[in-house]
């Protein structure tokens, strides 16, 4: 615990059911039930939370400042101490964790959400790329992931059967996850972009998630088995795919080193790997052995609500500790094309 000034734990986690379309719901309506649920789990009211932070992306909503309306769902009256990252909610959690480390807050509410259904998320994500030289070519996320998958196959680190097995295992695990979008046997399907088939790619869907953080003894009062964040770090790599070895994820490894992942074995890993091939890369970077339970929730191949899927990995890892199903877990979130930016957190239960 000496790594940081304060002990901070995930004390509650909630998520929506992840659905292909939610035409009947505004973002606010999608987020509100999740916020109510996560607060109810701790008995705290919005006004009692020390700091609130959210993650989302205007590009999914198709309008500027979309998060300004979602704040209404929190019920920010009287005014609250609040911030927002235009990133996956995992980074909102990081900002909230830093705030608690300063001592200015003892609790934090973190939420994130994304509705991919109103537009074409494959087209939308091309707008993340270098706007002068790459974005005008509209290379989509599946095509870029396919480059990465092919590089892995060419390096002899995977084959199509191994990738298919990742997809099958994920959707098998998701049977036990009532929130997942794709569950049970799903045909591997046709090639989307060779060598990736439908089953190697994440479903497109809408969803939201929320987490409550608390410090020290307060965490112990709010939660029977707090999931202590004993390490958290994130790192970014060069943007251009030509500057990176796509078969490796040095930023994940570096973040893991700083978060202390390698200091003791983990029993669970929740990895934000939207493509089957990316799980192969992340397993290697994190040094995960076959004994580790990887994505027992089904992972992003079973539900991938943009901007929430990373926060959900932290929430799922924490929930396993809450349930007593894990003692030491690693949670991972990613952003950008082909795993450009990665966040790694270590979550631990009290020794018992």
């Amino acid at each position: 615990m000496a790594r940081y000034a304060r002990e901070v734990a995930v004390v509650a986690f909630a998520q929506s059911d992840h659905l292909r379309r939610t035409d009947e719901l505004s973002e606010v309506e999608m987020v509100m039930p999740v916020l109510h649920q996560v607060l109810a789990a701790t008995g705290l009211k919005a006004g009692e939370i020390g700091f609130t932070c959210s993650g989302s992306s205007d590009y999914l909503a198709g309008r500027a400042f979309s998060f300004t309306m979602t704040l209404d769902g929190v019920g920010a009256w009287p005014p609250i101490s609040e911030s927002h990252v235009e990133m996956d909610g995992a980074w909102a959690l990081y900002e909230a964790w830093v705030k608690i480390q300063t001592g200015e807050a003892d609790t934090a509410l973190v939420y994130s959400y994304g509705k991919s259904s109103p537009g074409s998320v494959r087209d939308v994500l091309t707008r993340q790329l270098d706007p002068y030289y790459v974005a005008p070519l509209w290379p989509d996320a599946v095509a870029l992931a396919a480059l990465q998958a092919q590089a892995l196959i060419d390096a002899g680190e995977a084959d199509e059967a191994a990738l298919a097995a990742v997809g099958a295992r994920s959707r098998d695990a998701a049977v036990a996850n009532p929130h997942a979008q794709l569950r049970g046997p799903v045909p591997q399907g046709d090639y989307q972009v060779r060598p990736l088939r439908t089953g190697d790619c994440p479903p497109i869907g809408d969803g939201a998630a929320a987490v409550v953080l608390a410090a020290g003894d307060l965490a112990r009062r709010l939660c029977e088995r707090p999931a202590w964040i004993t390490g958290i770090d994130h790192r970014i790599e060069a943007h251009s795919l030509g500057l990176r070895d796509l078969t490796d994820s040095p930023s994940t490894r570096l973040a893991a080193e700083h978060a202390g992942v390698f200091e003791a074995p983990v029993d669970t890993a929740e990895l934000h790997a939207p493509f089957s091939s990316q799980e192969v890369v992340l397993r290697k970077a994190l040094g995960l052995t076959d004994e580790v339970s990887v994505n027992p929730s089904g992972g992003a191949l079973a539900a991938n609500p943009m901007m929430a899927a990373g926060l959900i990995r932290i929430g799922e890892a924490a929930a396993r500790i809450h349930r007593g199903a894990s003692r030491r877990a690693v949670a991972h979130a990613t952003s950008g094309p082909c795993l450009q930016q990665n966040l790694v957190a270590v979550l631990e239960g009290d020794a018992r």
Binding site: A64, F67, S83, H234, E237, S251
Partner: protein, 388 residues
């Protein structure tokens, strides 16, 4: 537990202008960051983490631009966070960076905010219709004009006050080499004769659309001890938010702004802001927001803010100079505007503000707001290391 004191040891801005056709977005941000590093006499290798902010991604058409900008900002292999809290984002971004140092998670952090408005059209970027929600009515001016009228009606302020603010800020900008608008022939009569855009807001009482970036280097006590130039110290910082629209909202003087200021003053030990603060960099995108925020921030009693403006108190040589840099009315790269306020406040207490320096400024307030006047971010910086 104690927080690490946070020092600002490097500040860099671009020359702000309507269109920087000579640089890419990456070139623009790198220019500001390189100037901040040079000011601190540090190199890219000294930076532990990068915190970047800007207003909506639609303004440049780049989704989550931190991904593309990682290389230009020397962030490869480092942590990089992207903050977005509407117009207050530049301030919020600096506060997130400051917290990284205060929490002792990192020792030296580069924070930067930018907007390259010439890549798009901000007014229409803010006017996308959303079903069942009030649109921003032809840009931000359409949204804020009714609240200015409400202020005038509530306080009885004469309709000349707005033009006094614009005339002052545009004159101050002439002393700031980085300011976008340098109107050498500005007169009060010209401001008053400019076309009415959103009654009562005239053309010369509105902010321009700018390309620009602002960067700061924040560091801990040990870093400040090595700094070749005087540091500015963070004495207090806070963010507050409230919903955009609800029946109890006071758009003239939002509670979130009052609460945010009160929190900052409490942290900094300020009990009489009017006497104890030497300079204010206030987020004034439309001229009437100066008297409105003077009240909201506790510099004047309710209904009295316009009297300070009218009496010349907020002039560069007044006893509470507001926006000595020329402010948002003279320079508005939206996402960077809040950080410019924070950085200009720091320049004042470092004694580095050049021709627009307020003599002997010891404590200065940087202020930003955004959304439908719902997000607030402020910091108070001082020339001395804080005692508590």
């Amino acid at each position: 537990m104690s927080k690490e004191p946070v020092a600002i040891v490097g500040i860099g801005q671009t020359k702000h202008m309507a269109a920087r056709h000579d640089v890419s977005i990456a070139g623009l941000v790198r220019e500001a960051a390189a100037r901040a590093l040079a000011d601190a006499e540090l190199t890219w290798a000294d930076i532990d983490a990068v915190v970047i902010g800007k207003a909506p991604d639609f303004f440049e058409g780049v989704m989550m631009p931190e991904l593309y900008l990682a290389d230009a900002l020397g962030a490869v292999g480092k942590p990089m966070l992207r903050v977005h809290t509407a117009g207050s984002v530049g301030g919020s971004t600096a506060l997130v960076a400051s917290n990284l140092v205060a929490a002792r998670v990192h020792r030296t952090v580069l924070t930067l905010a930018f907007e390259k408005q010439s890549e798009s059209n901000a007014m229409w970027g803010l006017s996308l219709p959303v079903p069942f929600q009030q649109p921003l009515l032809a840009g931000a001016g359409g949204f804020f004009a009714p609240h200015v009228r409400a202020y005038m009606r509530r306080t009885g302020a004469p309709d000349t006050v707005g033009s006094l603010v614009a005339y002052k800020d545009r004159r101050n900008a002439l002393k700031n080499p980085y300011a976008h608008l340098h109107e050498h022939d500005i007169t009060l009569e010209k401001v008053q004769a400019s076309p009415m855009l959103w009654d009562p807001i005239r053309y010369s009482e509105t902010c321009p659309s700018s390309d620009g970036a602002c960067a700061m280097i924040l560091t801990d006590r040990a870093g400040a001890a090595r700094s070749p130039k005087p540091a500015a110290w963070v004495h207090g910082g806070a963010m507050r938010s409230e919903p955009t629209l609800f029946a109890g909202k006071d758009f003239v003087s939002p509670q979130a702004g009052k609460d945010c200021a009160a929190d900052v003053y409490r942290q900094a030990g300020i009990t009489d802001p009017r006497r104890e603060i030497d300079a204010v960099e206030m987020y004034v995108p439309f001229s009437w927001y100066e008297p409105m925020w003077l009240e909201n921030l506790g510099f004047a009693a309710e209904g009295e803010g316009w009297k300070l403006t009218e009496a010349g108190v907020t002039e560069l040589d007044g006893d509470l100079p507001v926006n000595p840099s020329g402010g948002v009315l003279s320079t508005n790269p939206i996402g960077a505007s809040g950080m410019i306020r924070f950085a200009e406040a720091a320049l004042q207490v470092r004694g580095q503000a050049g021709e627009h320096q307020v003599p002997d400024a010891r404590r200065a307030l940087g202020h930003a707001y955004g959304g439908g006047a719902q997000f607030f971010a402020m910091w108070l910086v001082g020339a001395q290391e804080p005692t508590s």
